[in-house]
């Protein structure tokens, strides 16, 4: 009897002991990869950049700067500058989890693979994401971001530190990318044109110096930036489902009537002349047809319009670079008229009509430059940065408030999940660079 018990126990013991063989190694996912080469992920970073530039953040910026009106349901609230932390959840998530975290992964992989060019391209895109985030939100996680094991609760670095970090990242990126073209990385997300990483990076440096108010450096970098309109960094769009222009998707397919012209926004008024421009431009009449639909109820989403399904969306453009150069020069006593009038000539060539050159100077010239930038970059976050930096020089304030929004609110997801959350800032409190 006892023999049987002991042998039974022994057998069970043996079986159990050898049984980790039975269950080991099965918990490896056969449906998903657990690793990826770096260059494959760069495209995702690109999509995050594109989304930041033309999706919800861009729509907020366009409404806050009165380029368009918010006309239905939640968008009516935004029109009145009423937003909550929850409204910024998915944008923040897209930037950090879908963009910055992926860029850091690409950089790691690129270092492993010894691909300096790829590393540089990832750094440039990552810098763009950080730069815009700092410009929009103020103090944001930077040095501790993207490392959930060491920094599960990233602390928030000051806006200045982040912008400095962005400049350093861009410089290093420039060193690594050499003269490579954007299309080299087969990113697919960006339009295939003459854009080079180095020029894009210089334009970005100019942009972030401008935001920080460092006009001499902005001028220097702008001159090294995108040198022709075929060198833009643009998000590529076609009529294929999932590849259409984001504004088109929003206005035509998803939320018709939310983003329109119901309150006669400033962009419309400047372009149709009901509000006189600082620099008279008859050619605006031609531009009007491209920007807005026939009965002037909403932006133009038909073929050929600014938000047609296949309209590429500029992320960093020659126009922006030249206008940065012009404004920086105007503020530092350099030659502002040359770059500014280059832009005017280009607009005339593009739209037809008359875009007379400017011969102004001083504050008038600066106003004209910023006004042109406002009108030539529809849906651009840069316009929002400009208005905050210049104390609303174009008078975009609408409604009954006394100030335009000065930032994006920190998102609810950070409030809930980040132990080092520094506290919610009021929408109308300027970010440090603008204080």
């Amino acid at each position: 009897m006892k023999k049987i018990i002991y042998s039974a126990l022994a057998v069970s013991g043996l079986l159990l002991g050898s049984c980790s063989d039975y269950t080991d190694g099965l918990n490896v996912d056969p449906n998903n990869f657990t690793d990826s080469p770096g260059n494959l992920v760069l495209g995702q970073v690109g999509l995050s950049v594109a989304s930041l530039s033309e999706s919800q953040p861009s729509r907020y910026a366009a409404i806050f700067t009165d380029q368009f009106s918010g006309c239905d349901r939640q968008y009516e609230q935004y029109e009145a500058y009423v937003v909550t932390a929850q409204d910024f959840d998915d944008s923040w998530d897209d930037i950090y989890a879908d963009g910055i975290a992926q860029a850091k992964f690409v950089r790691e992989k690129a270092i492993e693979e010894g691909d300096a060019q790829l590393e540089g391209a990832a750094m440039i895109l990552e810098a763009l994401l950080f730069g815009e985030t700092a410009a929009l939100y103020g103090n944001v996680p930077f040095s501790e971001a993207g490392d959930p094991f060491e920094f599960p609760n990233p602390s928030y670095d000051s806006q200045t530190e982040v912008l400095n970090g962005v400049q350093a990242m861009l410089s290093e990126g420039i060193n690594k990318v050499g003269s490579s073209q954007v299309l080299l990385n087969a990113v697919g997300v960006f339009a295939t044109n003459d854009a080079t990483w180095a020029e894009v990076a210089h334009s970005l440096k100019a942009r972030y110096y401008l935001i920080a108010g460092d006009y001499p450096n902005a001028l220097a970098e702008a001159q090294l930036g995108i040198s022709s309109p075929t060198g833009n960094l643009e998000a590529f769009h076609t009529e294929t489902n999932g590849q259409e222009n984001s504004y088109y998707q929003f206005i035509v397919e998803q939320r018709a009537g939310y983003l329109a012209l119901c309150n006669n926004p400033l962009l419309l008024r400047l372009m149709n002349g009901t509000t006189p421009r600082a620099l008279a431009t008859p050619g605006d009449a031609e531009r009007l047809a491209v920007y807005f639909n026939d009965d002037f109820t909403e932006p133009n989403t038909a073929a050929g319009g600014i938000f047609a399904a296949d309209a590429n969306f500029p992320i960093v453009s020659w126009i922006e670079t030249k206008l940065i150069q012009a404004e920086a020069a105007a503020r530092t006593g350099g030659d502002a008229l040359t770059p500014f009038n280059e832009v005017r000539a280009y607009l005339e060539a593009t739209y037809g009509g008359s875009f007379p050159a400017s011969s102004s100077s001083g504050q008038q010239l600066i106003t004209e430059i910023l006004e042109e930038k406002y009108m030539s970059l529809p849906g651009s976050l840069q316009v929002f940065h400009d208005m905050r930096r210049t104390d609303d020089i174009l008078g975009t304030l609408k409604g009954s408030g006394s100030s335009i929004p000065q930032r994006f609110l920190y998102p609810q997801v950070e409030i809930n999940a980040n132990e080092n959350f520094p506290g919610l800032e009021d929408l109308f409190t300027p970010t440090p660079v603008n204080q």
Binding site: M1, I4, A8, L15, C19, Y22, T23, D24, L26, N27, D29, P30, N31, N32, F33, T34, S36, L40, V41, L42, G43, Q44, L47, S48, S51, S55, Q56, D89, D90, D93, Y96, A97, A101, Q102, K104, V140, P141, A145, P148, P152, N153, P154, G188, V189, A235, T238, T240, N241, Q243, S246, Q249, F250, E253, Q254, P411, E414, N416, A417, N418, F421
Partner: protein
């Protein structure tokens, strides 16, 4: 003198010597049961020793005993007998059936039988006869209302629709919610794949089994009872045993035939108004979505005026349909449209089983065919054929082998339902009363005479090629959703009697099924102008090895010990492969269903694989002391493949049958107190330990998105962080209870209180996105279930030919989500608006949605017009869990007649009446068609004043600021089912129903003998005959989201049914 004494002493010595050295001899004999049939496996013990044996297949035994010793003959379910060994060496015994109900025997987790009086758990046995009399087509539905602690909710009344089973409460957020199903000692699959707010109603795999094959079902509700199964048993266990072959009536062979026909009809339906036509604000408008048009009775009458100059629709019926320029007709088509879609469903269910009891074996062969044409016309049906062969053979005196096999084949056609413009109820209910749905398909000719074949028309698109919502006729006839299941279950088992009281059992179980599903939308289905086809092939294989030793000792009269020691290997292999094809190149498919009929970019394959294994060793020790104290200890050591270490699950139970020490009396015949503690678990989902990479893409919550597939398929690292520390969810339960029998066993009462907590429940935890990840799956939640269960049975009358018994059960469960570690809520199922969620501190599955604005005291904060306003923040709006549930059944039999009834009730649960809200918006619900005259000036929701004396379409309401007009502006505004005012439509869904009512008649035996049958029984059963509920429009005992954990939402759920069943049983 001395000599006499010496002689006497010597004699005494010799006598004593003779007694002490009395020869043991071999006793043989046969043990039979009350029908004089041999009783195999009966236990024969020499009392007071550990000497025992069992009878063989012929009921024969052989044992060594000496004269004067007592042999104890016993068998589960029969009365024990004790016979003293006398001079004879042959002792034949007949053991009669136990006077108590057969419900005395329950199955343990390993599928072994145990006397209920000795059972220390809260397990209950379901009366199989009642299960089969209920006539339900599936095992799961047949369980409803029969025992405490179990909740069965059907997905819908569609043929073949599955159901969810909830034992006690919900224990997990991300894990499986199904209880473990053990069939003949082996776990089988009860997977239900694909339940959402739209699509088709899915089946449940447990319903593949023929209910006629089942001998007993035991529900193990507590953790202690199920602890030997470890992970997987967290939601309770249903232990099912299938029949073994046996002869009957003195013959070795028995044939049983059962044939039934059932008629199903809808039990609760939505009413549609028939007073106002299609249109808005009192004016008729063709193709308009809503029915807020003109008053039909005010129309001139006669035929409509058509525009025959341009486009028209030529229906397949030959009718020519033109655009209407003036709507004059007063015809309403609610009945015509209903008859287009619904019918009385007919179900034919035939089964035959042959049992044979041979010298060394017994065999059961059983076949069945269930054919169900449901309540919906068109492509809606369910056919199930099953074949079972159970064979048990005595290979040698000590070796028994058994093999049970089951093959089920299912063919079914399903109808699209729910929140789905291609669904049945959505298009059907929203159709305006003055629109005739009969002609739904034909050829459309445009203004230039160009023909567009295969055109589809409905009330939102009466002359055109494709309407906004499907015509119900198109949904049921043109769209097809076939499904084919082939299932094989094989359970061989070997039992080896190693010694007299040690048995080795080895089992293997194989459960393999393939499930092929297709959905086909022809071109011009709403929203799918160019057609869509998808096919999924699922295959799941579960295989189990289970070996255990069991032994039983009688150590003296007062101590009995038995133990089981075993080991188990389980493997589950699941894969699903298929593809979708969108935008057909050639739209005229006919019966063809294939890939290759679309652009490469529109054909997407998918593949999903999953394989897990589990290895465990377990031990069970049972001790019985002094005939009244029972102790059970179990332990299971397990290693699941989804977790990095071994896991241990203990349980301990204690029981005291105190009635064994009190003197016999007429009041308390049996009483037992029991307490137990047990731990079981749920394994984490596989493959969650590593962060994955896959195609990316970025989109905003507003719907615009940039897809990876169009941009060269860039990969992204998942924003869900892999968690290598993921471990099992552990459930700890403490249970106390009592079982009583009163009045000489005429009344039984069982009572249980349980307190269960799930620790380390897994949920997705939010991470700060600036860390680079959005969430991580972590063991971070805690869920509790506390409740009581009461089961009672009273034999009110049991005299001669007349018997009357009543049974009742009561359950109450509090299922609270104790902690979510800071996460506010987790979505289970539902919509962006109204959903069923897990919310910290609230009942599981709480309903969440938009709320009305309230002030600090909780009163409605009304606007200037006296109407409620919307609270900008969504929150909790209801609780779908019942406060208590109960069942009350009664059986009356007299001679051959048996009448039984079962009432069931659910009280205190709430449901979101989404359909009602939307039908209010569409102006379809009768409530919106009332014509009310304003007694004073009334304001409507837009602020317009309706002067006194005006008759308007709508009602008068009062939200606290005085009477207001509830007219079109109210029903299209805040009261619209699409508005974010979901709180408005939370309603009490408590119900009470007559679940079953049946009358059966067994023909008397003398009549039978003359015909040549052994037995015959005819009966009539009604299911779901009467429903008492305040919830309107649909049976609240259905669930839109099927067998998922989300509950309490009604949104165009397909209707439920009431049935009338006629059964004939014959025995040969």
């Amino acid at each position: 003198m001395k000599t006499k004494l010496n002689g006497f002493l010597a004699l005494l010595l010799v006598l004593v010597a003779q007694i002490s050295f009395a020869q043991t001899k071999t006793i043989t004999g046969t043990v039979t049961d009350q029908d004089a049939l041999p009783l195999p496996g009966a236990s024969v013990l020499v009392k007071g020793t550990s000497n025992g044996t069992q009878t063989d297949f012929d009921g024969n035994y052989s044992i060594q005993a000496s004269e004067g010793q007592v042999l104890v003959f016993s068998y589960v379910g029969q009365e024990t007998q004790e016979i003293t060994v006398g001079a004879s060496s042959t002792i034949n015994v007949q053991l009669l059936q136990s006077a108590q109900e057969l419900g005395e025997v329950v199955l343990t987790a390993l599928g072994l039988e145990k006397k209920k009086d000795e059972d220390l758990s809260s397990s209950t046995l379901v009366d199989t006869e009642a299960l089969q009399k209920s006539g339900e087509t599936g095992v799961i539905q047949g369980l409803a209302g029969k025992t405490s602690g179990i909740q069965i909710t059907r997905n819908s009344g569609d043929p073949g629709a599955g159901a969810y089973i909830q034992i006690r409460g919900q224990n997990t957020i991300t894990g499986s919610a199904s209880p473990l199903i053990v069939l003949d000692g082996v776990a089988i699959s009860n997977t239900s794949v694909g339940s959402g707010v739209g699509g088709v109603v899915q089946q449940s795999r447990l319903n593949d089994i023929n209910p006629e094959d089942i001998e007993s079902v035991t529900v193990l509700k507590g953790a202690a009872a199920a602890a030997v199964w470890g992970t997987g048993a967290a939601n309770g266990v249903l232990v099912i045993k299938t029949k073994r072959g046996r002869g009957a009536g003195g013959s070795r062979m028995s044939v049983n035939v059962r044939s039934s026909v059932a008629f199903d009809e809808i039990n609760v339906e939505w009413d549609k108004q028939d007073k106002f036509g299609q249109g808005l604000s009192g004016a008729w408008a063709e193709d308009f979505a809503l029915s807020w048009g003109d008053k039909i009775a005010d129309r001139p009458g006669g035929a409509d005026v058509f525009d025959t100059s341009g486009e028209y629709f030529e229906a397949d019926s030959g009718n020519l349909i033109y655009p209407i320029t003036e709507k004059r007709s007063r015809e309403v088509f609610n009945d015509v449209n209903r008859d287009q879609v619904f019918q009385t469903g007919v179900t034919l269910d035939n089964s035959v089983s042959i049992g044979f009891s041979g010298d060394n074996s017994n065999t059961l062969l059983s076949l069945s065919n269930l054919d169900q044409e449901g309540i919906i016309r068109g492509q809606s049906s369910y056919n199930r054929k099953t074949f079972r062969l159970n064979h048990e053979v005595n290979l040698t005196e000590k070796l028994t082998a058994r093999i049970n096999t089951n093959y089920s084949t299912i063919k079914s056609q399903r109808i699209q339902q729910g929140s789905n413009i291609n669904g049945l109820y959505l298009g059907y209910l929203r159709t305006a009363p003055d629109f005739n749905n009969t002609d739904y398909k034909g050829t459309y000719y445009d203004a230039n005479g160009v023909a567009f074949p295969n055109a589809h028309r409905a009330y939102r698109g009466s002359v055109g090629t494709i309407p906004v919502y499907n015509n119900p006729g198109w949904t049921i006839n043109e769209q097809t959703n076939p499904n084919r299941v082939e299932r094989f279950i094989i359970n061989p088992e070997i039992q080896w009697q190693i010694t007299d009281n040690m048995i080795f059992t080895g089992r293997y179980g194989l459960d393999y099924y393939t499930d092929v599903r297709e959905t086909y939308f022809p071109a011009n289905s709403s929203g799918i102008p160019d057609g869509n086809y998808a096919r999924t092939e699922i295959a799941e294989k579960n295989s189990t090895w289970n070996f255990f030793l069991s032994s039983n000792y009688d150590l003296g009269e007062a101590f009995n010990l038995s133990w089981i020691l075993g080991t188990q290997f389980e493997e589950s292999d699941y894969h699903s492969i298929g593809g979708t094809s969108n935008n057909f190149t050639n739209p005229f498919l006919g019966d063809l269903r294939l890939f290759g009929n679309a652009d490469a970019a529109n054909e997407l394959p998918f593949l999903f694989k999953q394989k897990t294994r589990k290895n465990g060793a377990y031990a069970v020790i049972n001790a019985e002391l002094f005939n009244q104290l029972f102790v059970e200890l179990t332990g299971r050591y397990e290693r699941p493949s989804t977790v990095e270490d071994n896991v241990f699950y203990p349980s301990a139970s204690l029981g005291w049958a105190f009635s064994n020490i009190i003197p016999e009396n007429n009041f308390l015949s049996f009483g037992k107190l029991r307490a137990s503690y047990g731990e079981i678990g749920i394994e984490p989902q596989p493959y969650a330990t590593r962060t994955t990479f896959g195609p990316g893409g970025v989109g905003s919550s507003w719907g615009d998105f940039l897809a990876a597939g169009t941009y060269g398929n860039p990969f992204t690292r998942s924003t869900t962080l892999g968690n290598p520390d993921l471990t099992i969810e552990r459930i700890k339960e403490f249970e106390v209870g009592a079982d009583f029998r009163f009045f000489n066993n005429y009344m039984t009462l069982g009572f249980t209180y349980y307190d269960r907590v799930t620790e380390d429940a897994i949920l997705p935890l939010d991470l700060a996105p600036s860390s680079g990840f959005s969430n991580v799956l972590a063991n971070a939640a805690e869920i509790s279930n506390k409740g009581i269960e009461i089961d009672a049975n009273v034999n009110i009358f049991n005299q001669g030919d007349f018997k009357w018994s009543v049974n009742a059960n009561f359950s109450r469960n509090r299922n609270i989500v104790e902690s979510l570690s800071g996460v506010q809520s987790v979505f289970l199922n539902g919509f962006t608006g109204a959903s069923s969620r897990v919310v910290e501190g609230e009942p599981f599955g709480a309903l969440w949605g938009g709320r009305l604005l309230r002030d600090a005291e909780g009163n409605l904060d009304l606007d200037a017009n006296g109407f409620p306003q919307l609270d900008p923040e969504a929150g909790l709006i209801g609780d779908p869990n019942p406060d208590w549930r109960g069942g009350l059944g009664t059986t009356i039999s007299w001679k051959g007649l048996t009448l039984s009834a079962l009432f069931e009730t659910f009280q205190g649960n709430e449901m979101w009446a989404g359909t009602k809200g939307v039908l209010n918006y569409f102006g379809i619900s009768p409530e919106t068609a009332n014509e009310t005259t304003a007694p004073t000036d009334l304001v409507n929701a837009s602020g317009t004043v309706i002067p006194a004396g005006t008759t308007f379409r709508g009602n008068i309401g009062d939200f606290g600021a005085g009477p207001v007009a509830l007219d079109q502006s109210w029903y299209l505004g805040l009261a619209s089912g699409f508005a974010s005012s979901h709180e408005l439509y939370i309603e009490d869904a408590s119900w009470t129903r007559l679940r079953e009512l049946s009358l059966f008649y067994s023909l008397p035996t003398n009549m039978m003998e003359s015909i040549g049958f052994r037995s015959a029984e005819i009966g009539v059963t009604g299911r779901n005959l009467v429903l008492w509920t305040d919830f309107e429009g649909v049976d609240p005992d259905l669930n839109l989201t099927g067998a998922s954990k989300g509950r309490g939402l009604d949104y165009f759920t397909n209707p439920g049914t009431r049935s009338y069943l006629f059964t004939l049983r014959l025995g040969l």
